[in-house]
Structure formats: structure tokens, C-alpha cells
């Protein structure tokens, strides 16, 4: 009696549920969906995450204990990645920097996307003037160049880690909002949301239960991209001297502090630069290969 679902519909639902692991198939199958380059990205990402989480544990000597007159030393057995402009061990700095770079970027991204999604859900679910006010207001924020905004914020409130997280968060809220809103508005127009409305459900239920789960997939991909932007913004801020403040150092400031070594091809500048590049490329690879995405591209007519 029953028939198969039309392909268009399959692809439509696939795109809605994209990137979320299919609940019925195991995580292994989900992993396999990444393809080789996606897996590579995932591996690199995992490596840095582990470094950030466990790094300080693995390091026998803290960075503070070093500091020798051996400035810009090349790669050696004692210093696997050489030393920096103060003679500190680069490996230790990189591993510590991972915490700051990844930590700040992750927090800022989550803050931005979280706020953006919440506001977007509110805008989509409650409509008219709330939507208009939010959209216009956040548009206005986009008009201020991000580095300028960061500059003013840091000048005003100092450059502590929470401040950087908040600043980067604010900068990327409008982007996340716009993306989430366009998705949420589409979902909001779908019949199942209307059904929930006619049932008499409140705005909060509609936001959280009906719309949110269905925009999470695409938003996850968006979150990845935003993460990359935040990492790069942090690096730029470090260049301008506004980033993470010493003795703490994120990778951007490591590059910046040691940029004098660039002309000599010193490891102390190349390694953190490579770390930034590998992290951002890995995130991009993972996003580009999220399972379901390619299938979606192929299946869409």
C-alpha cells in the first residue's frame, strides 16, 4: 500500500536535519560520513582540543620556569620547537597558547551563536516589531568595522580574557543572528509550527521545541565558520597589541611577539602561525565534509 517518499521531500528533510547525527545509526557510521579530508580535519581538531585540555598536564616544566638567555634558539632536543624572544620554550608556549586561542574563540563563538540564535528565535517566533527592531539594531552593529569595535572596547574596558570573549561575541552576534533568523523564519512558516500555534503553545515552546532543533544542524556549520573568524580576529587584535596579555599568550600574540624571527626563518614564528592555520583549516575541512552536506548538494534538484 505505502509508497516511497518523493526525493524532493527526502532532501528537504535531510537538509533540515543536516549535520546532526542520525539517531538511529551509530556514531561510527556518522564518522564514516566525513570522508578522508573531513576525518583529517577532525583528527587535527581533536589533537588541538586535547592539547588545550591536557597540555598543562603533559608539560613537566611550566613556561615560567624557563626563560633563558638562549633567545630564538633553533629546534633542538632540549627545545623541540626552539625558543622565543625571551628564551622560553616554544612547545610549552604553543600548548599553553592552545588553551587561550581555542578557549577564547570557542567561548566567543558559543556566546555569539547562542545570543544570535536566541534573538533570532525570538524574532522569528514573535514577528513584526520585535523582529524589525532586532534586525535593524543588529544591522547597525554590522556597520561598525569589527576591528574598530574591538579596538574601542579594549581601549575602554581593558584586554582581559572575559573582555575579549565578550567583544568577539558581540562582534559576531549579528552574523549568527542573520543566519539563524533566515533559517528560523523559513521553519516558522512551516505547517508544523502553525499546528503548534493553533494548539495554543506559547512563544517559548515554539522557539525551543519546534524551531530550535531544526536549525541546529546548519547553525553548527555556521558556528564552525564563526570560530575561524574569531581565531583570526584574535590574531589581528594580538597584532595590534590588544589581544591576550602576557605572560599568557595565544598563538596570534606568539606570532606577533616573535615576528622578528621571521626573516631568519625562526621556528618561534612559524610554529604558532602553522598552529593557527592548521586549526582553521581543520575546522573548515570538518564543516565542508559534515555528513549529509554532500548528500544534500547531490540530492538537491
Amino acid at each position: 500500500m505505502e509508497t516511497t517518499t518523493p526525493a524532493t521531500v527526502v532532501s528537504a528533510t535531510a537538509s533540515l536535519a543536516a549535520a546532526l547525527p542520525d539517531r538511529r545509526s551509530g556514531p561510527l557510521r556518522w564518522l564514516a560520513g566525513f570522508g578522508p579530508s573531513g576525518l583529517l580535519g577532525l583528527a587535527v581538531l581533536l589533537f588541538w582540543l586535547l592539547a588545550a585540555l591536557l597540555g598543562p598536564w603533559l608539560l613537566s616544566h611550566g613556561t615560567a620556569a624557563t626563560g633563558t638567555s638562549n633567545v630564538f634558539a633553533p629546534i633542538s632536543a632540549a627545545h623541540w620547537l626552539g625558543t622565543d624572544y625571551l628564551g622560553r620554550d616554544m612547545l610549552a608556549l604553543i600548548i599553553e597558547g592552545a588553551r587561550y586561542t581555542i578557549g577564547v574563540a570557542l567561548l566567543a563563538t558559543v556566546l555569539a551563536s547562542g545570543t544570535g540564535i536566541t534573538l533570532a528565535l525570538l524574532a522569528a517566533a514573535s514577528g513584526r516589531w520585535i523582529d524589525a527592531v532586532l534586525s535593524r539594531g543588529l544591522d547597525t552593529l554590522t556597520a561598525i568595522p569589527s576591528k574598530m569595535f574591538a579596538l574601542i572596547m579594549v581601549a575602554g574596558f581593558g584586554s582581559s580574557v572575559p573582555m575579549l570573549v565578550v567583544t568577539a561575541g558581540i562582534i559576531y552576534v549579528p552574523g549568527a543572528y542573520r543566519m539563524a533568523r533566515s533559517l528560523a523564519v523559513n521553519i516558522n512558516a512551516l505547517d508544523y509550527v502553525t499546528v503548534a500555534r493553533t494548539r495554543g503553545e506559547g512563544t517559548l515552546y515554539i522557539m525551543l521545541r519546534e524551531i530550535l532543533p531544526n536549525i541546529l544542524g546548519p547553525m553548527l556549520a555556521d558556528l564552525g565558520l564563526r570560530f575561524v573568524y574569531v581565531v583570526l580576529l584574535l590574531a589581528s587584535l594580538s597584532f595590534l597589541g590588544l589581544g591576550i596579555q602576557p605572560p599568557a599568550a595565544d598563538w596570534g600574540s606568539l606570532v606577533r611577539e616573535n615576528i622578528g624571527a621571521l626573516a631568519m626563518g625562526g621556528a618561534s614564528v612559524i610554529v604558532p602561525a602553522l598552529a593557527i592555520a592548521s586549526l582553521t583549516i581543520a575546522v573548515n575541512l570538518v564543516i565542508d565534509n559534515l555528513p549529509g552536506r554532500t548528500a544534500r548538494e547531490r540530492g538537491a534538484r
Binding site: 624572544y85 584586554s159 597589541g241 602576557p246 605572560p247 622578528g260
Partner: protein
């Protein structure tokens, strides 16, 4: 050496200073950094000028005399004209000096000018200054950049009319200025160059790259870390000016841990000066001894025993002080090398059982908000023209910039006496006593006196250090020439 060669006339050079901002000024009273000083030195002259030992030499004033160090008579050089052809007159001098006292001028030299009670033209080529108290160093003070002579009644300084070696051709604040030779310059044979293009490049790496790529002939403020690169590139050299500039650890004696003398002493023992010299300044510095008069100064007291890096003593004093917990320490890129110093201090302190919490502040707003206000933090003092100016501004009990709020009546008396003392040997002894007092009691740790490093093409000749700062104490313009 450079002086052995005969200068050549002609040629054009490009010079880069370390800052560029819309606030770049040609108003002598408002000069605030290397680029301002360098630019103004091309255009203006002072009554005197300071030489390599910071001894005042006649400039626009042919001679200066005093009997009591309170009333000073300056005789002006004849035949000096401004760039627009007007002859230099005593009225110009009176105007140029006295305008600093007017708050509306917002002069940076107001404090120094305040001691001049009156300035009067007392002859066709003579100006007489009367001071509120004797000061043997007045010719030194008048030799500093801020007291350069402008035309009477000038309000708009952007035209850049002075008596200096170069005439202003173009001035774009924050971008560049262009100077051409003043053929009517009063110093015979000078200047040598036809034209100087002066720009500000804020980024050190960019500055050095600009030099090495052939885009610049002289750049200021080279980081010690770039020296090897410059030296290693054929056709380029560096020029080092050892000066009295220092970054100091300030421990306020009125509040915070610094109120305890043992804490202060302990911290002073924590400076591993040799390592700081090596890793931070890469040897482009001399070790300091917690007193502000540097070895280039004629009043430097070499007999004061050098305070060593001594962990045990440090530990002993720190423990005795009873200071526990994390001690916040404020540092900033605004105070040269202070962040690095703080980092090294943090490491040694840890070994002595003291936790230091470094608070790095942005350069913006550092001087107005953190310096002088932090309990433990860093300051930076630029070279001063005289020991008296330095001690008066930074160590006199009532001085606005008494960084550590160290108060000593004995010191204040000595200072006043030395200022009026004209016998050099006696004066020297007084300064030695004052240096010892600061070394022992003030809440100031001075690990290093820093050198200024400039980079230049090997073709540029005539550079000789003047310990006011880099770029020949900002006065390179009339002294350098290009080798063929």
C-alpha cells in the same frame, strides 16, 4: 671615525621615526616624541644646544653669563634670519620662552618655565632672564627642544618658520614632512643635504623592512632583536646611542607592599640585571644600580657598590616584610621593556617564594591611568638634559612625578644646594650623596639604562651619539651627509 671624513654636500635622504599620528606637531611647546623632536630640530634652533656630553654650547645665543645663577644674560648671534627673511630679535626670544608659562599654551615644559620669573630684552641683541631661585643649569634647560625659538606672535605653527637648517616644504601630520636646505643657515657650511623626507612608521618590523628594502636611509628605534638582521645585510649599519633612558619598577612607599622597606629591598635584589641586559636588551644597555644618573652623565657616581642579583637576600627581606599572596604588578608596552622585565621578575620571584601577578595594560592611557597610580608597577623615564632636571622632576619630595612618593628632607636640601652650586667638584659630591640615598631608600628599582638603536645605510655619514636619545639626540639633520 665619521668625523675624520670631510662632509659632502647634496643629496636627499628618507628618514623614518617611530610614530605617526595626526597629533604630529610643529609647535615646539607641544613636542612629545621622537618624530616631533626630530622635525622641530630641522626647523628651529634653541638659544643653546647640547653636545655629546650634554654640555650646553652656544647656538642662537652667542654667549651667556651669570653671576649668581639667578640672573642670566644671553647675547644673541647677529645676522640670523628666520626662513621668511625676518631677522632674529630679542622679542622673539622673550616670546618663545615666556609662552610656556601661559597655561593656554599647554606647554610640556611649563614646569621648567615656571622658574623663569621674567625675560626682558635688555639690548638690541641681549635678553636677560631672572629666575625665582638660583639654577646653574639654565643654559641646559634652554637647550632642550621645547625652548626652541619661534617668531614673536606665532599662533599657527604649521608654517614651520624657524631659523633652523632646513625649510619646511610640506607637512602632513601623520603622513610625512618634506624639508629642503636653508641656504641662509647661520652655521657655515651646514647643512649638507638638499632635502630630507621624514615619515613616521609605527610598526618596528615595517620600519626595519623599509630600511632593508632600500626605501629608507635612516630609521629610528630599532629593536635589539632586529640588529643582527640589519648588520647582516650588506650596505646597512646600526648606530647606538647609550643614554640615560630607563624603565623602572615603582613601589609606592605610601600604600601597598612598598610601604614596607624590606619588600622594596627584597625586590631590588630580585633583579637579575645581567640576564635582563642579555635577553631583554640583547646587550644594548648598561646595568643600572637603582639610581637614575647613568654613566654617560658627568655626575654619575661610579663609586656606589653595584647591587647584585641575590636570591637569598631577596628571600630574607621578602620574608621579613611579611608580604604574602599574589602581588599585582602593572606593566605596559608604553614603558619600554617593562613587560619583559616583569616576566623575568615573575620568574625569579617565584624562586624566592613570591607570586607576582602581571597586569599588562595597553599603551593607551597608561600614563594617565596606571603610572603613578599603581602600587607596584613600571614607569619609564626619558633622558633628561641634566641631572638636576631629572632629580627635581622625579625625586624631590613634592615633585608631581615622584613615582614612589619617597620623601626625604635631607635630599630636598641637597638638591637645592647643588642647583646653586657652581663649583663642579662640590656639586659632584652632592650628586653622589643623592644617588646613594636613592639607591638605598627610594621605592625605585632601575635595572638597566637603555640604549637607543637606529639603523641606516652605510652611505649615511656623520652620526655621533648625543645621549638625549636616538637619531643623534634628534639632531641628526644638520650633521649627516651622504657619501658619494
Amino acid at each position: 671615525s665619521a668625523h675624520a671624513q670631510t662632509p659632502k654636500k647634496g643629496g636627499r635622504i628618507r628618514v623614518a621615526g617611530a610614530t605617526a599620528a595626526a597629533t604630529d606637531t610643529l609647535d615646539p611647546a607641544k613636542q612629545s616624541n621622537q618624530t616631533d623632536y626630530s622635525r622641530c630640530n630641522m626647523i628651529y634652533n634653541g638659544l643653546t644646544s647640547l653636545d655629546g656630553s650634554l654640555t650646553p654650547q652656544p647656538a642662537l645665543a652667542e654667549s651667556f653669563t651669570t653671576k649668581d645663577a639667578k640672573t642670566w644674560v644671553f647675547t644673541l648671534r647677529k645676522g640670523v634670519t628666520f626662513h621668511d627673511g625676518k631677522a632674529l630679535s630679542p622679542a622673539d626670544v622673550v616670546f618663545s620662552v615666556m609662552r610656556h608659562r601661559d597655561p593656554a599654551t599647554a606647554s610640556k615644559a611649563k614646569v621648567l618655565a615656571d622658574q623663569i620669573d621674567s625675560a626682558k630684552a635688555t639690548g638690541p641683541n641681549e635678553v636677560t632672564f631672572v629666575l625665582s631661585a638660583p639654577n646653574a643649569d639654565l643654559p641646559v634647560i634652554l637647550g632642550t627642544s621645547h625652548f626652541q625659538i619661534v617668531k614673536e606672535g606665532t599662533t599657527d605653527f604649521n608654517a614651520g618658520i624657524g631659523t633652523g637648517p632646513y625649510k619646511l616644504k610640506e607637512f602632513k601630520p601623520g603622513v610625512r614632512s618634506l624639508m629642503v636646505r636653508n641656504d641662509a643657515y647661520w652655521k657655515p657650511g651646514k647643512p649638507y643635504l638638499d632635502e630630507i623626507e621624514f615619515v613616521g612608521i609605527g610598526d618596528e618590523t615595517a620600519r626595519v623592512n623599509a630600511l632593508l628594502s632600500g626605501g629608507m636611509d635612516l630609521v629610528g628605534s630599532v629593536n635589539p632583536r632586529s640588529v643582527e638582521r640589519v648588520k647582516g645585510t650588506p650596505g646597512f649599519g646600526i648606530f647606538v646611542t647609550q643614554s640615560g633612558q630607563y624603565s623602572d619598577l615603582v613601589m609606592r612607599k605610601d600604600v601597598g607592599p612598598g610601604a614596607n622597606p624590606d619588600f622594596v629591598l627584597g625586590m631590588k635584589y630580585l633583579f637579575d640585571r645581567e640576564q635582563m641586559k642579555k635577553t631583554i636588551a640583547l646587550d644594548y644597555a648598561v646595568v643600572g644600580n637603582d639610581q637614575p644618573i647613568d654613566p654617560t652623565n658627568r655626575f654619575h657616581f661610579a663609586g656606589l657598590p653595584q647591587r647584585p642579583f641575590d636570591l637569598d637576600k631577596a628571600k630574607f627581606h621578602l620574608q621579613k616584610s611579611g608580604v604574602t599572596g599574589k602581588v599585582p604588578m602593572v606593566a605596559s608596552p608604553a614603558a619600554l621593556y617593562s613587560v619583559e622585565m616583569a616576566l623575568l621578575l615573575q620568574q625569579t620571584a617565584q624562586r624566592a617564594g613570591l607570586e607576582i601577578d602581571i597586569k599588562r595594560m595597553p599603551a593607551d592611557g597608561y600614563w594617565s591611568n596606571h603610572w603613578l597610580n599603581s602600587q607596584v608597577g613600571f614607569g619609564n623615564v626619558n633622558p633628561r638634559p641634566s641631572a638636576d632636571v631629572l632629580l627635581t622632576q622625579f625625586f624631590q619630595s613634592g615633585a608631581a612625578w615622584n613615582e614612589s612618593r619617597w620623601k626625604s628632607e635631607k635630599f630636598d636640601q641637597l638638591l637645592l644646594a647643588s642647583r646653586a652650586e657652581t663649583d663642579l667638584a662640590k656639586r659632584k659630591q652632592m650628586y653622589a650623596d643623592m644617588q646613594t640615598m636613592i639607591h638605598q631608600d627610594a621605592g625605585i628599582g632601575i635595572p638597566l639604562f637603555l640604549a637607543s638603536i637606529d639603523g641606516h645605510t652605510s652611505k649615511l655619514k656623520g652620526l655621533a651619539p648625543i645621549p638625549l636619545g636616538g637619531l643623534m639626540g634628534y639632531n641628526f639633520a644638520e650633521n649627516v651627509w651622504l657619501e658619494a
